[in-house]
């Protein structure tokens, strides 16, 4: 408690508004005190000082005075415009006052005792004119080259910094790096509160800017070297605050974009906010898999940031069109943002600073780097691991699902290349070539996936014009087959299956035919039998008729013999006539 109170009372901080700097200084520069920014020529001292003033004036309502000893007011205005600020406009609004101090040794003769009261008066006048709270002196060392009496200068500088403190100015004083000292003229002797060193290094033709807080009296601060970036919006310092392992975790699952792949992850896909790595050699479909994941995110209405280090956005969009994915629509809707750069453009740290910057701006739910291996090559293993750890911690803190691809080399072990980062990865997919019978096919399997049930099977990975397909590879008869070998094997099985079916059908038909034949025979016999019985019947009828005729005839003969033929005979004739 006591310590906290002490901090608040004695060390009030003045936020710089510069991205990342306030985080590593834990709140900003010491308020009401001068801070020394030193560095070699072109290390960004002036830009840092300028942005400190601009942000103060625009964001914190603290007007500032820029006293320049090197650049003319025109150059200064140009520099401000390069950061997106109109110096003249801000000057007319009373937010910024500038003063260009010009000292030409050739015009000045020194004789006898003097002091720098003129400088104090100018500075004081500028401060009073706008009610400034911030002051930049860039770079006051020019006095040493303009004036020869070092003893006077040193005394006056001491007085100047004291005067600035008394007036409560939060000041930035810039100084050029010396050979053995921080600054060429030992300004660090006078500015005892906060010293920040800027560094501009070139390693293997790649330049990296770094920032380090050399000292910050009475305050804890990050002591590492922090890479930083200068772009059209000012400085960005990579906030390498070690986040540790206390980030929030989600149990929400998100689709991989490939239903069968989801199925391999317990039917649900990845965890939101997890880190996914896809390793594979060239041409195994890493980009297609990333694009499918991106597509799935956009379909859910989420924002996706896609860092492409091998292909241009247009090329990716065209190529993904060939597997039935329309990424251009998401770009148009603002859900998908591509960021393409050659990995060799700048060093690893700069890429990571860029990641941070773009993530802060775009606020994606899904973040893809394709591939990350090129970046890994840009630094040493320990650098890569420490920086990626920080990046991944940062992404996890933001609950951003991260999808990284890793290009492994032919001949190398697939698992080897990423060993530096494997412990950071939650879900690791491996895409590999399966060469069999003069043919190359793609196989996919899950190397690990933390905290979920997942398939251990190798799936054959297919790129079709309908997107990505996964097929169970052939595992019958004790061997593993893929591609056309699998297809051939399947065809063969299909053929023999077909033949068996034909055989069965043939037998069935034969049976039917036999049955039909039999039935026909039965019918014929029955017909014969029917014909015979008809005959019999007719014969019996004939016989009966013959008998009755005989009987009639006999009766008639009886009548004839008795002389009364008429009635019986006539009726018999009638009957016979009808029957005929």
């Amino acid at each position: 408690m006591v310590k906290e109170k002490h901090d608040v009372d004695v060390l009030e901080k003045c936020p710089t508004g510069i991205r990342g700097l306030d985080e590593i200084t834990k709140g900003g520069l010491p308020r009401g005190r001068p801070t020394l920014i030193c560095g070699s020529a072109g290390s960004g001292k002036t830009l840092l000082a300028m942005e400190f003033l601009m942000r103060g004036a625009m964001d914190y309502g603290e007007p500032g005075v820029f006293m320049t000893f090197e650049e003319t007011p025109e150059d200064l205005a140009k520099n401000f415009i390069s950061l997106g600020f109109d110096l003249h406009d801000m000057m007319s609004r009373g937010l910024i006052a500038t003063d260009h101090v010009y000292i030409a040794r050739s015009e000045i003769e020194e004789t006898g005792d003097y002091d720098l009261e003129g400088l104090f008066i100018r500075l004081g006048n500028a401060i009073d004119s706008i009610g400034a709270k911030r002051v930049v002196l860039d770079t006051i060392e020019a006095l040493f080259s303009g004036l020869s009496n070092a003893a006077i200068l040193r005394a006056e500088l001491r007085r100047l910094f004291h005067w600035l403190k008394e007036r409560g100015m939060t000041a930035i004083v810039t100084g050029e790096s010396g050979d053995k000292t921080l600054t060429r003229y030992g300004l660090e002797e006078y500015v005892a509160d906060c010293v920040i060193l800027l560094d501009f290094r070139i390693q293997e033709q790649i330049s990296t800017r770094r920032l380090r807080i050399v000292k910050y009296r009475g305050s804890s601060h990050g002591s590492d070297e922090y890479p930083f970036l200068i772009d059209d919006r000012g400085l960005s310092i990579l906030p390498i605050t070690s986040l540790g392992l206390d980030y929030p975790v989600s149990t929400e699952r998100i689709s991989t974009g490939v239903p069968k792949l989801d199925a391999m992850f317990d039917g649900k896909g990845f965890y939101r906010g997890s880190t996914i790595l896809v390793s594979g050699t060239a041409g195994t479909g890493k980009t297609s898999l990333s694009a499918t994941f991106a597509n799935a995110a956009c379909l859910r209405g989420e924002r996706c940031l896609y860092f492409a280090f091998e292909e241009s956005p247009r090329q990716i969009i065209r190529n993904m069109g060939s597997i039935g994915m329309d990424l251009a629509q998401w770009v148009k809707k603002g859900l998908l943002k591509f960021h393409s750069a050659r990995p060799s453009l700048y060093g690893l740290e700069m890429h990571l600073v860029t990641f941070h910057k773009v993530i802060e701006e775009f606020k994606p739910e899904v973040f893809i780097v394709d591939p990350i291996s090129n970046l890994i090559a840009a630094g040493t293993a320990s650098e890569v691991k420490s920086i990626l750890t920080r990046l991944i911690d940062y992404l996890k803190m933001k609950k951003i699902s991260t999808f990284l691809t890793d290009l492994t080399h032919f001949g190398g072990s697939l698992e080897r290349t990423s060993e530096e980062i494997s412990s950071l990865i939650d879900t690791w997919l491996l895409l590999r070539d399966i060469e069999l019978k003069g043919e190359r096919n793609r196989g996919l399997y899950i190397l690990k996936s933390r905290g979920m049930a997942h398939s251990h099977q190798i799936q054959e990975f297919l790129l079709t014009n309908q997107g990505i397909g996964l097929i169970d590879i052939y595992t019958g008869s004790g061997e593993v087959l893929t591609g056309s070998a699998r297809a051939a094997q399947e065809a063969e099985e299909k053929a023999s299956e077909l033949a068996r079916r034909h055989e069965a059908e043939y037998r069935l038909r034969e049976q039917e035919r036999k049955r039909n034949a039999l039935e026909a025979k039965i019918a014929a016999l029955r017909a014969e039998f029917d014909a015979e019985s008809e005959e019999m019947h007719l014969m019996a009828e004939e016989e009966r008729k013959r008998q009755s005729v005989l009987a009639e005839d006999r009766l008639e003969m009886v009548h004839l013999r008795k002389g009364k033929p008429s009635a019986v005979r006539q009726s018999a004739r009638k009957r016979r006539g009808k029957g005929e």
Partner: protein, 110 residues
């Protein structure tokens, strides 16, 4: 000293045949250095430029905005405005030799 305290103390003696030496002395209040500088300057001028010089004393405590125009940082600063080119001498002007060199007066008198 008499001419130091007001913002613009003038000592003008004109001579039509020679060019006028227009000198400006910047001070910040009546400090010992300023007083010494003015005394030294006046002595040198009387010795070498009698009758053809003009000294203007500017007190920056009263007119701070004037410091910017002449690029004044040190006090006291003597500015030779005329004849051209512009020259500056800083300090209390104790070393007469240096002042003469600085103002380029030798050629005139010699």
């Amino acid at each position: 000293m008499k001419a130091v305290s007001p913002g613009k103390g003038k000592k003008a003696k004109t001579d039509s045949t020679e060019e006028i030496w227009n000198l400006r002395l910047y001070v910040a209040g009546q400090t010992q250095k300023s007083i010494t500088a003015f005394a030294n300057l006046k002595k040198i001028c009387e010795e070498h430029l009698a009758g053809k010089y003009r000294i203007e004393v500017i007190d920056l405590l009263k007119n701070p905005q004037l410091a910017k125009g002449d690029q004044i940082i040190a006090i006291p600063t003597l500015v030779r405005e005329l004849p051209e080119p512009l020259k500056k001498i800083i300090g209390d002007l104790a070393n007469t030799e240096r002042v003469l060199v600085g103002l380029d007066i030798r050629s005139v008198t010699g």
